[in-house]
Point group: none
Chain length 304, copies 2
């Protein structure tokens, strides 16, 4: 896969918009202008002719065509139709919540809550929609068969990595997470064929994580990347790429939507692994639950 990766828009119809916003950063400036128009109002874009859209994006028709190809379509007519279909599906009432955007300065808390929840839920849903089950399957397979599992992540993604590690550990898998780059590098150096390294980076550009994955790969381990941007650098050092679909645009939300999306993916993988070995998993979980029971209090009130 040399030049144009031609990221498959995969699934029959779901998530074209999501797909596009994921690809957005990897597009050229002119194409980005087109992409932004399309994402902002798919229905409207579907109504426009190619010339019209090109003008609106202050570029040429040629660029629009390039954009179509970049997002995996054959040409403009196909894009148009898919866009129309997408737009029709998302019935969503155009209500007060500020979709994707920033919170308006004057917003009251109720409004803020509605907006955030909406965007967060969307991120989760859209991530699931565009997740490729085939890739998940391979990753689950690899995790299930791995001798050792290393999970890497820095900053916010570090929490997710840590969460993943803990989950795997709880069902009896040998998993590690390192908050520190140097330790992580050391660990990666000790991986080998049959082991698996999972790197989490929202932007896909976190050099620390990329470096560690690279190291792991060089040692023969299977590498997996979890990122929001399917064409970011981290994907170049990964055997399997899983993507989230958070369209976080602004500073506001402290990147929570992306976090939730990542956690969802992690959860899917986890359940996938767990489902593969019910008995063993269940036993391990019960044992670990028992272990913390002494730290629970309460007059009868607690859950399983």
């Amino acid at each position: 896969m040399a030049k144009s990766p031609k990221i498959s828009a995969s699934h029959g119809s779901g998530g074209l918009i999501v797909h596009i916003s994921g690809l957005l950063p990897s597009l050229s400036p002119a194409e980005q202008r087109v992409a932004r128009l399309v994402v902002a109002d798919p229905a409207d874009a579907a109504r426009r002719t190619i010339t019209d859209l090109a003008t609106a994006a202050e570029t040429s028709e040629a660029t629009v065509i390039r954009f179509c190809r970049s997002v995996g379509m054959d040409g403009y007519p196909q894009l148009r139709i898919r866009l129309a279909a997408e737009a029709a599906r998302r019935i969503e009432p155009p209500d007060a919540r500020v979709v994707g955007g920033d919170i308006p300065p004057g917003a009251d808390l109720a409004q803020i809550i509605a907006t955030i929840a909406f965007n967060d839920a969307r991120a989760v849903e859209e991530t699931a929609e565009q997740l490729d089950p085939a890739v998940c399957e391979q990753v689950v397979e690899a995790i299930g068969a791995a001798g050792r599992i290393d999970v890497y992540g820095a900053g916010a993604s570090g929490f997710v990595a840590s969460d993943f590690q803990q989950k795997l550990h709880r069902i009896g898998r040998t998993a590690f997470y390192f908050p520190d780059v140097h330790t992580a590098l050391t660990s990666a150096a000790l991986l080998g064929r049959g082991d698996i390294a999972i790197g989490i980076s929202h932007t896909g550009t976190t050099s620390d994580v990329i470096e560690v994955l690279e190291q792991a790969r060089a040692r023969g381990a299977t590498t997996v990347a979890l990122t929001n941007f399917p064409r970011s650098p981290i994907t170049e050092v990964a055997d399997h790429v899983l993507t989230t679909a958070a369209r976080e645009t602004t500073y506001r939300s402290g990147a929570t939507a992306s976090r939730l999306a990542q956690l969802t993916v992690v959860d899917c993988l986890f359940v996938g692994v767990a489902a593969r070995s019910r008995a063993r998993t269940k036993k391990a979980l019960e044992a670990t639950a028992e272990a913390v029971r002494a730290h629970r209090v309460g007059p009868g009130r607690r859950r399983a």
Copy 2:
């Protein structure tokens, strides 16, 4: 335009197919052939070019255009788009995701993903719905005014606590999180009036967290509990109670839904606090983002 009935397709978008089959009998034979094709498989028709469709209907392009006009469209492209939209709408609403329940043993990954995402998204939405803006307001107020902010949480909730701490810290608030109970207790003992302690426990029964909150409260700090169970022990030591609405029933999902719900609440509080002091917040966020920039890589491709 003497003849052309030009029956308006009126309805913003709904029922084009119905509309067409309604006036099918009034169409000329050649147009009927076209209409039948369209009604039989709208999605397929939308994919075809006008020439292609004409051939399939054993007629000429001109007739197809006439057909478009007959059913109230301006031309073929418009019909095409409307058809695509219709077709998209009339598929797959109720599918096989297993609501609320456990994952069935034989489930394939695609099913698992759909189920998890559905439940996760639900947890987020429902949590937001039942969140009391008034209570949030008070908590936001308290955080904004606090001299010091302690966030407590153990196990899975510890991640959330840590996340919250990090968020607050990033916008320039003095916030702490302690993974260790003893340290936490020590810290709580140093709190006083004007400080705030936030305890996170999904079950509301984690003795470690309750204990620490209790301590903080005794010292005069404002206490906040975040739990899924509004009548659990932790609520007894809290001035303000915020609840999540995860209905996790089974062992399966590693408690991710509850985690997401908690994170959503934390996010709302965070944004609430941030919104209160835009300037200060923005400046702090920019500074922190700048700080990690050196750890980002990328051949030209990066995001805004």
